[in-house]
Symmetry: C2
Subunit: 486 residues, 2 copies
């Protein structure tokens, strides 16, 4: 056999290189480089040789699109674990669950309430299902420059003023692990015959112990989508969908099926089966251990002067009824220092973080991060030559991060149809109508939705993310697409 050209498999080569770096994983997926799979004997047996488990739906196995055997049995156990009326494994990530819950709950032309701070997949679903969105803007914590919640009075006002709304889509928690008490909102929405759909992509581990927030299913949401891979020991792109009572199950299942491959990966299904069982048996104990360790090291890390890991106490001060997932670190970098440079330094020292928004660095902790991982994190932070990362902070971040919802010139689905588009530079886009969503990724929250007017505020946000070296979907070579005839 010939030796292949080293450059001919760029993805394989990059992943091999990444593996060799042997980083400490404080990022997704939740199994942390496989460690999470070696907790039971059967787990070890399977995952040490997982490629043999990549088989198709042969005799003796089951059909994900019409489960009657092992998948049905496992999904019933999933339902028992989270509560709710029916639960599903998704092999196309939370994206497919979000499409399915939105398509099955709403009809074309329906008016819905949705957080502006929602995930890109929700915006796509709004276009595809031709919905009329009423956006809710977030409260910003000016100390850390992060979105923390939707003001409760404001959201209740919006519900009261829009009785014709068919439902509300909430995100719980957000990417920073911050939650608000959504029970009251759910109750109010239901009083008004509105359905409540929850994107809980970052909350699959919630509700398993007292040191973690309550699970969205428990809080009474109608449909909840949770990424299994983000916080549990399951492969990337696996998710759970849980439907509560009073959902048209047939209709829901049509859309779940339509948006998912008819050739689902049994590697994925195995990992979800494993993760579910892990949470059932060890979830409470292991996440208690994890949050305990997280608190211990948060305290030590917070003795360092140049950063601050956000604490539940910080949030309590706001008196907004918000709290934080303590299995997540949001490291706020003091404003005279560069968070992206700190991120780079951490990576160079083999600390793999989840994301950096330009100001904060987010780490996802898990039961599979042991004390050595935390200790190494602390040591690296302690030894950081932070003076090398000093910056002149020329941006007035508080102004920039503040949520302002741009003026909509076209509904999202109308904008999707129009093809008369031109490409203009970022410097010449002011007062034009945006022809493509502009989304920094991470955190995946659009600044502008297709069809909205590019105003000064939106432009300053774009420039801020560009300056922070964060990749922006919709901005290519400093150019943006706008509609020609508007």
């Amino acid at each position: 056999m010939e030796r292949k050209n080293i450059l001919s498999t760029p993805i394989v080569d990059a992943i091999n290189k990444y593996i060799e770096e042997n980083n400490i994983p404080f990022s997704m997926p939740g199994h942390k480089a496989g460690k999470g799979f070696f907790y039971t004997d059967d787990g070890k047996k399977l995952f040490s040789n997982i490629i043999n488990g990549d088989i198709t739906e042969v005799e003796g196995l089951d059909n994900l699109h019409k489960p009657e055997g092992i998948i049905k049995e496992s999904q019933e156990l999933l339902c028992k674990l989270y509560g709710g009326a029916k639960a599903y494994y998704l092999v196309n990530g939370s994206t497919s669950g979000i499409l399915a819950m939105i398509f099955s709950t709403f009809n074309e032309g329906d008016k819905i309430i949705v957080e502006r701070n929602c995930h890109r997949s929700i915006f796509n679903a709004i276009i595809l299902r031709k919905l009329v969105p009423i956006y809710l803007k977030s409260e910003i914590d000016e100390r850390f420059n992060i979105p923390i919640c939707i003001n409760e009075d404001y959201i209740l006002d919006v519900i009261n003023e829009n009785k014709d709304v068919k439902g509300i889509i909430l995100t719980y928690p957000n990417y920073y692990g911050i939650c608000q008490n959504i029970s009251k909102i759910i109750l109010k929405a239901k009083e008004n015959n509105m359905k409540v759909l929850v994107d809980s992509a970052h909350g699959a581990h919630f509700g398993f112990c007292d040191s973690l927030p309550q699970n969205a299913v428990e809080l009474g949401a109608d449909i909840v989508v949770m990424s299994a891979h983000k916080t549990l020991p399951s492969f990337t792109q696996t998710s759970f969908l849980v439907a509560n009572k009073n959902i048209d199950i047939e209709n829901l299942e049509f859309y779940i099926s339509a948006f998912m491959t008819t050739s689902p990966s049994y590697m994925f299904l195995c990992s979800m089966d494993y993760a579910r069982n892990f949470m059932e048996l060890y979830g409470k104990k292991e996440f208690e251990k994890c949050t305990k360790l997280a608190r211990k090291y948060r305290k030590i890390i917070n003795e360092l002067s140049y950063i601050h890991v956000i604490t539940p106490e910080d949030l309590k001060e706001k008196n907004l009824g918000i709290y934080i997932d303590e299995s997540r670190y949001v490291i706020n970098v003091k404003k005279q220092y560069s968070a992206p440079l700190l991120l780079k330094y951490l990576k160079k020292n083999n600390i793999q973080c989840e994301m950096c928004d330009g100001i904060n660095i987010v780490l996802i902790l898990s039961p599979f991060n042991n004390e050595m991982d935390f200790s190494k994190l602390y040591e690296v932070l302690k030894d950081c030559p932070i003076h090398e990362f000093e910056i002149e902070n020329s941006l007035n971040i508080n102004d920039i991060i503040e949520q302002k919802i741009p003026q909509s010139k076209l509904l999202p689905f109308e904008a999707q149809k129009i093809k008369d588009i031109e490409i203009v530079s970022v410097d010449n886009c002011i007062n034009r109508v945006c022809a493509e969503n502009i989304t920094p990724y991470p955190p995946g929250i659009p600044i502008l939705i297709k069809g909205e007017l590019i105003d000064e505020h939106a432009l300053s946000l774009i420039k801020y993310y560009l300056k922070s070296n964060i990749s922006i979907l919709g901005v290519d070579n400093l150019k943006i697409k706008v509609f020609t005839k508007m």
Copy 2:
């Protein structure tokens, strides 16, 4: 750590059990229990420890939804390999490619021509995109009772009679590996400004050597979707989409992105990168070797009296310009014997086949099936106690398999909206309007589409598949959903 209850992970347990059986894989996926990944040194290195490669889109890697680095580079190589204008990796199987190509090519209300023998995902896309389908029925080879092609004169007539049609969706090859020359149809469609979309889920290996059919991209289709996992060394649920010239790339990319998870698996991306490189370097040589071996053993197997593996010569006799993928065995079982019982016997002897339609058994061969695999297959077939599998063949299969398109009472998308449904037994469903697609799986071709009248012919097909113990999506406990008010 506690020892978990053996029954608590039904999927993991079943897969562990399956792995222990150590079957010879003549089924998907194309890597054949991992053998396909050990062809290059870097492949060995990565795939022997693939779980470490399950990482998220961290620094140094790339974003599948806005590729600028390794994914972009690899997709460009994919495009170079197949030809065409742009090529994409799909992590949600061919299903997501089919949704994307149909949504991007057609608008709501568009009339399209589509084979009745198309995959379930195409029917779902027709509902979701609200298209008006004109179905084409297949010619059936009465000797083997399999669909072989759409009569060319018939299809050209349909095109001539429906000049307002926006496009045509073809399947090339079908599940049996049978192809017709679609060049003429493509030419005719293009003359009439119709787009040609090809579901080539089973044809990713086509065009790499003279002993295989030409690739659909080469034949001039506008968009082609190919499953990487079916015939190439790539993980289950991975696919390629190739767009030819004159496609609105921006629009296509919106839909590809919308139907795919924003947390794509790098294990999947690695396997597609690997498979592409494998085909580039070794595809020709290895598939020549594979088809040569397949021919050799087909000849020997065809000396057995109770079965017949379909040959290119068989198809030539029909004078329809059809041919067969020689890396696939379609074992036609003589009518006095039971194909399902033969399938069971093969499985018991560790021969894993791809599917059985009740009459034929399909095997997917690959370069990773060595001579020992073929030899074992032959030995097991030779030693078969076929007299034990004798049946009274009471069904007139020729009548049953013949394609008749039921009367449509509601367009697919209209039927999807109606909720007044009742459940009736299979024996009481005649002349009712079907409220759910009825699809035997495999081969995944609907007998009835939601909104169609259940006539005698459709009913006989349902009973035939039930009798053959083939799982039918849409039939539950011998019951079918029909619309109440029709």
